[in-house]
Symmetry: C2
């Protein structure tokens, strides 16, 4: 069978929602391999219908529980839900930390829910690309609402969760100061704020603090006012309000008001793909050179790392000739 016919068949199976085909294609995207690139290119053209919701929060904010409850509520309204969990993993052991341990097992047998964890290990730029390709695959497979869930601890994670139509930031009462400080980086990216665990007695203070911070820090822009919604998975409150806010924002995101955001996501994906490809080339090059150069750097007898890197980049031919850049520009931007 030719690769193209192979890809066409794989796509047909993904479109039919076959879990094995979905899993295979997501794995290919995650591995960053050139295999099935044909199919992934087709997926890109076909996708763009699903409502993509990014959900993040500091560790301990109750994101996973919120995602689980929200998914169940959306299911009862007839939605088919894809969940892509970006999962911080050990950079050394390669082990996935959260993994499927915390996944809600009661949904595992429901064909209307598809849950996938993506490990972030060693994926410079590749993680963003693979995650958004996984979203596209689930979109093509007929899931109409896709949740990207990530623990908000690094810039990469925050960027990914922002590459959605609707970004939800989850806070919770009773977390330590240093954890609360991490949250500061996430305040501005929320389209919707959720304070979870609002059955707790100290939740009102968290709600008040958050509302005050938003007043002083976030300028309202355009037709959307960022709501702050109190939820509790224990007492099952706040989810109707949350779903109503999600649907209102969806209408906006798919309309003219959401156009610039969709363009930004397109640009983000191009940047991440280019970064990943370029760093892959660079690393292959460095793998050849580092064994000879590193000992001299360690002894501090070589030029400093910056000067050496400059020479190396220059000899790679990047940007050394203005004509290169001009050629590239005229060829691609036409």
């Amino acid at each position: 069978m030719t690769p193209v016919r192979d890809s066409l068949e794989l796509i047909e199976r993904v479109k039919a929602g076959a879990p094995v085909a979905i899993a295979r294609l997501i794995s290919r995207a995650e591995a960053g391999s050139v295999q099935d690139r044909e199919a992934l290119a087709m997926v890109y053209k076909l996708a763009g219908r699903a409502h993509v919701i990014g959900i993040t929060g500091v560790p301990g904010s109750g994101k996973s529980t919120l995602v689980g409850t929200l998914a169940q509520k959306l299911r009862t309204k007839g939605h088919r839900i894809g969940i892509v969990a970006v999962d911080p993993s050990s950079p050394y052991s390669g082990g996935s930390i959260l993994g499927d341990r915390v996944r809600m097992s009661e949904m595992a047998t429901d064909p209307g829910v598809y849950i996938r964890s993506m490990a972030t290990r060693g994926a410079t730029g590749g993680m963003a690309q693979a995650t958004l390709e996984a979203v596209d695959i689930l979109d093509v497979a007929g899931f109409d609402t896709i949740i990207i869930e990530t623990v908000g601890v690094g810039q990469d994670e925050v960027e990914i969760v922002r590459a959605s139509h609707t970004t939800i930031v989850v806070s919770a009462p009773g977390l330590g100061d240093e954890i609360q400080a991490l949250k500061a980086g996430m305040l501005e990216i929320a389209d919707i704020h959720v304070v979870s665990k609002c059955d707790r007695s100290d939740a009102n203070r968290t709600l008040g603090d958050l509302k005050q911070m938003l007043m002083t820090r976030v300028a309202p822009d355009g037709p959307w006012t960022v709501p702050v919604i109190a939820t509790s998975a224990v007492s099952q409150t706040g989810f109707d309000e949350l779903i109503a806010a999600i649907q209102s924002h969806r209408a906006l995101a798919f309309g003219e008001a959401g156009r610039q955001r969709r363009i930004d996501i397109g640009g983000f994906r191009l940047r991440k793909a280019a970064e990943m490809l370029l760093l892959t080339r660079l690393n292959a090059h460095l793998d050849d050179l580092v064994p000879a150069l590193a000992p001299r750097l360690a002894e501090r007898t070589a030029p400093d790392p910056y000067a050496l890197a400059q020479e190396l980049i220059r000899s790679l031919g990047v940007g050394s000739e203005a004509t290169h850049e001009r050629n590239a520009r005229s060829k691609i931007a036409r």
Copy 2:
């Protein structure tokens, strides 16, 4: 004055420990500007004498308090201490989160201690380079012990703290499950484990859990057995033991046993510098192309981001001709 004479004068002032000169050069390193590169290249050759200690831990582990107490104890033993705090910052507002708020003001007037916060914002690869250049600058300025402190939440932070002679990972009792899970990524990188807040009644469980995890997960290699040390800043206990462990590891790190680690750090610095330079070029190129391409990506009428990025990288001339790579290799590795 010529740039070279200017650099020589700056270096002399750094060597004399002049705070203004130190601050200026660190700021140049942080900005990644080409100004004062001459001086930074000289710094690289001169540095390499100080004992560099990387200290990390999950949010709430009491790292900053530990670093403060440790620095004070080392001061009483006559050491001159540099502290470089890698500080997560908001990717959107650019604000530094921890900053100098939590820095110990009592040490601010001691000329034997120099404290500097480095913001991580938007510094792809550049953060590692700037941080290690700051370490070198403090080394040349005569600080014999330099602590790199970072909250252990991302792969970048973990890599930086590993680029030291001695890595200390701080744990604490009483943190939530999701926080504890983040720690899993840091277990393997420790040369010394510290459990802080050991005045707390639940500290023994944390100590026991950590020792058990280490037994099952970390294989002993070479002449060093990773100690687990209980400290309390409140009751001022454990610090003599910690300093003894640091000194033992220092002896090893500067000897033959530490040679491979020093080489790895040299290789890491070359990789990070090359990455930063290449991504800077790529981003300048993308800034020209993205405005025309992103809307087509958003409409999904263009080729997919991966295919477009491939074309873009190819037209940049990187790795497209095998001769380029061969030339680069023979030129640099000689």
